[in-house]
Amino acid sequence: MAAKNLDLRQDFPILNQKVNDEQLVYLDNAATAQRPTAVTDSLVHFYQTDNANVHRGVHTLAERATEDYENARRKVQRFINAAEPEEVIFTKGTTDGLNLVASTYGEANIQAGDEIVISIMEHHSNLIPWQQLAIKKHATLKYIGLTADGELDMADAAEKITDKTKIVAIAHASNVMGVINPLAELAKLAHQHGAIIVGDGAQAVPHLAVDVQALDVDFYAFSGHKMMGPTGIGALYGKRALLEAMPPYQFGGEMIDFVHEQDSTWAQLPYKFEAGTQNIAGAVGLGTAVDYLTNVGMANVEAHEQAIVDYLLPKLVADPDLEVYGPHDPAKHTGVIAFNVKGIHPHDIATALDMEGVAVRAGHHCAQPLMTYLGLVATARASFYLYNTQQDADRLLVALAETKEFFNHGAVKA
């Protein structure tokens, strides 16, 4: 694909600052993205002009706030190509969405002896809810392993997913290995065995065009803050028939149809799953982030990030002092690049890079079973987004070279 050079930095005031006297290079996008002015403006606008509680009031502001909130839902629906807006439930984020599925669908459908299949590269948020459900229900939790170059082992997937499998839950894109998993293929496999499939879209929705109907996933959860929306807002997609059959997640205001002294009936979708006053402004901000991404075009976002990976990854891989995790073929690698420098702990790397103004993550990336599987304690991780540039990649390379020099030779002589 032709590289499209986006130049969006002027939309992100936070990037225009010095950190430790150096121009900031923000490469921790897999943790959280930065917000364009349009998103922060939409929050201010909502609170200063339309703010009211939704779905209740008769007054004008309540009507406007409700319209803003439901517009945001329709934007998200179109963005992931859900069949209807009622299939989009607003959540606190990916973790909340995955917990919702585990504690409602999982609670109602998993029995002793059943199997839940996830992968060894899952983030804790798509691991612990299933692990705890399996413990509670005396079900078995199985892990799909990786190939030698760090991709999901589809041969292993075909063995692990059996007629005993009731739920398959897999990250669409990995927050460590930098791979996109073949979710559509896994969905097919799961459905052949009568299981449902849950996609963790936290690292996918911000970076590539996602079509939940084409993927044929049953549930799909993602966060707003990794796609430039506010924190504390996310969405869960679920197929209508499944959502209809599920018990509510939480009880309280907004989610009821009628409440009697001894029993209650539930609201229609999606409100059955949105108990209490929701993060209305958050939803509005998420809608604006969706607009921003739609304007840029997801194909352009993908091409832009791929061009950076094409440029940077071979240089990192060629460095004999570096170990780069995940596939070394740039065509198979996303803008999430985990690595270690021989002889230097990733925490020391991250501190040194920070002194050069380059923000990266160091740690286990909320994937401790993956770290154990790879025989690692921790890694450094640089992750790119649509406002990063090839110059940012160059700054990382220079800072890494200086860091190696510091720890290996010049440490205290400067």
């Binding site: 430790n20 006297d21 150096e22 230097i344 702990h345 990733p346 925490h347 020391d348 501190t351 040194a352 002194m355 050069e356 160091a362 740690g363 286990h364 401790q368 770290m371 304690v377 921790a378 200086e402 860091t403 510091f406 720890f407 440490a411 205290v412 400067a414």
Partner: protein, 155 residues
């Protein structure tokens, strides 16, 4: 500024302790043992102490995995408390915690810490304070919970 600022954190003595850690081994006849983890980064320290019958630290050793700061802090800590009685060792742990959080202490207290006092520089790197304190927390816990089981704890 770049990496020159790093010199204040990674001082020669700190790098020396990280590259050549003192007492980096598990004791066979320990009286007090603990494993502590820093869940944010995955660093682990196993600390074993042999107390003598006068409640003094007759021997101390550590093992585990961690960054330059945590490894060197553990090395300096074991150097500093070797031969000290329990009360003194606990006081030193308190001094160290206070010092890295910026609380003033008399010079005599800091002198008692030996090389470890140099880690006061960690104050300018707030994200790394936990790396420096992990070993001292382990010391405190190991001394205070001598009857406690030695299973894994998170710091």
């Amino acid at each position: 500024m770049g990496l020159s600022k790093l010199n204040s954190l990674y001082r020669e003595v700190i790098l020396d302790h990280a590259d050549h850690p003192r007492h980096k081994h598990d004791l066979e006849n320990s009286t007090n043992m603990i494993t502590l983890k820093n869940p944010t980064c995955g660093d682990v320290i196993n600390l074993s102490i042999a107390m003598d019958d006068q409640d003094k630290i007759a021997d101390i050793g550590f093992s585990g995995d961690g960054c330059t700061i945590s490894q060197s802090s553990a090395s300096m800590m074991t150097d500093a408390v070797m031969g000290k009685d329990k009360e003194t060792a606990l006081r030193m742990a308190k001094t160290f915690s206070d010092m890295v959080m910026g609380t003033e202490h008399p010079q005599a207290d800091l002198d008692e810490l030996g090389d470890a006092a140099i880690l006061s520089s960690i104050m300018s790197f707030p994200a790394r304070i936990k790396c420096a304190t992990l070993a001292w927390w382990a010391l405190q816990r190991a001394l205070l919970e001598e009857d406690a089981p030695t299973d894994e704890e998170e710091a």
